[in-house]
Symmetry: C2
Subunit: 216 residues, 2 copies
DNA sequence: CAGTCTTTGTGATACAAAGCACACACGCAC
DNA sequence: GTGCGTGTGTGCTTTGTATCACAAAGACTG
């Protein structure tokens, strides 16, 4: 779905294309699979086969960040995974907050896939007075009015938006105002965010809609 | 996440770039919002403002399919939405099956967002003998061995994969073998699919991982 | 340790997508 | 019906991304 990200030409930092950044987590994933299946060396060819992309593209992508391979042998799986995690900021944990504790929000806080990857949901918010105060999956649901304070106090860096569509933009604005720079949006709208804030949308309907074209 | 799609140079049909196809549902969404807020004319400028993209790109995208606007006025909202829906194959309903009736599969079949957009989940499958036979959200869970038959009998065109990662590739292969050409994959792996099959992944972790780079 | 084989890293090249800018179509006013 | 304002559709240019292809680096072989 729609994504927006810093163009990142601030100063002279990374001129690394956004697409490349989006592929790195894929590499990390394949590498971790690969290493747990006993291999400790991998070639760009093998990596490419797993991801259905060309070896050249993988080498190009990696070359934005350094020289991690050895000619004639390939890449040390564990080492490359570590390097990529470090580049991406994945060798640490990140605190996240979920806003919207309806059906979807409950599913998100209960989802067991975040924590193992270092994403800890440590706060939950809702607008409804009936839900505020409840404990859901071990989280005490707070009022949205406490958002800014809690974000500051708990060092929350990521906001996950699971409110109904008609509240979504307001909530996103509030997150931005609270200083959040990374937002994961489950609401089916095209959100407006200022430059410098990255937002990614999760929207299965949009994915389905873009597939029917090919089977029409 | 990883997507794969027909390169679509079959015969001499549409040389329409994949990215364009992925944007059309966004246009449809904004148009439907816009019309329900009383407007019946929209310019590429306004559309662009909503989606944070340039007017020129929108006009270019639309020009792949025809000339829908009127100079000096813009686009008739309802008409354009209708045209786009027709182009995308969204002016009909599509039958879908969910494979994997664990936590995630249950959430998917219970999700109320699919049906209003014409995606009807009319079959559910699972490998576990305990789950097969249960009725979940009104669907009688079937054994995966019945997949091919049911797909044929019920005219199912879309497969939604919600099985654990270590079964996902097998299930995807089974769907492909059953003739499914559109797959929505919730399992966190990079699936292998033959050409001619479109697969889209829903993976919040991947989205989070590609955001941390910018706030590292 | 020379020769061969493999696989990287990367400049050069080809391809694809986005943006610009303007001619032209349409609507409206007078 | 002439003239003006607005916004489309699109050829051309610019920007961005992927691929090619090859030199150089390491490993292994006898």
């Amino acid at each position: 779905m729609a994504t927006s990200t810093p163009n990142d030409n601030l100063g002279s930092e990374s001129p690394v294309p956004e697409v490349v950044i989006q592929r790195l987590p894929l590499y990390v994933r394949v590498l971790s699979q690969f290493s747990s299946s006993g291999n400790d060396l991998i070639s760009s060819e093998q990596l490419g086969a797993h991801l259905q992309m060309t070896p050249a593209q993988i080498r190009k992508d990696l070359s934005y960040f350094g020289r991690f391979g050895k000619q004639g042998r390939g890449y040390d799986v564990a080492m490359l995974e570590g390097e990529l995690r470090s580049i991406m900021g994945l060798n640490r944990t990140w605190n996240a907050a979920v806003i919207g504790m309806g059906r979807l929000g409950r599913a998100v806080v209960a989802y067991p896939g975040f924590a193992p990857e270092g994403f800890n949901i440590i706060a939950a918010f809702d607008a409804s007075a009936e839900i505020v105060g409840q404990t859901i999956s071990g989280l005490a649901v707070q009022s949205i009015s406490q958002l800014t304070d809690t974000v500051k106090n708990l060092d929350i860096k990521i906001g996950i938006v699971t409110v109904p569509i008609d509240h979504a933009q307001k909530v996103i604005d509030a997150l931005v105002k609270a200083g959040i720079k990374s937002i994961l949006n489950y609401a089916p709208l095209s959100p407006q965010v200022p430059e410098g804030v990255t937002i990614r949308g999760i929207d299965p309907v949009l994915s389905l809609q873009s597939m029917t074209y090919y089977i029409r």
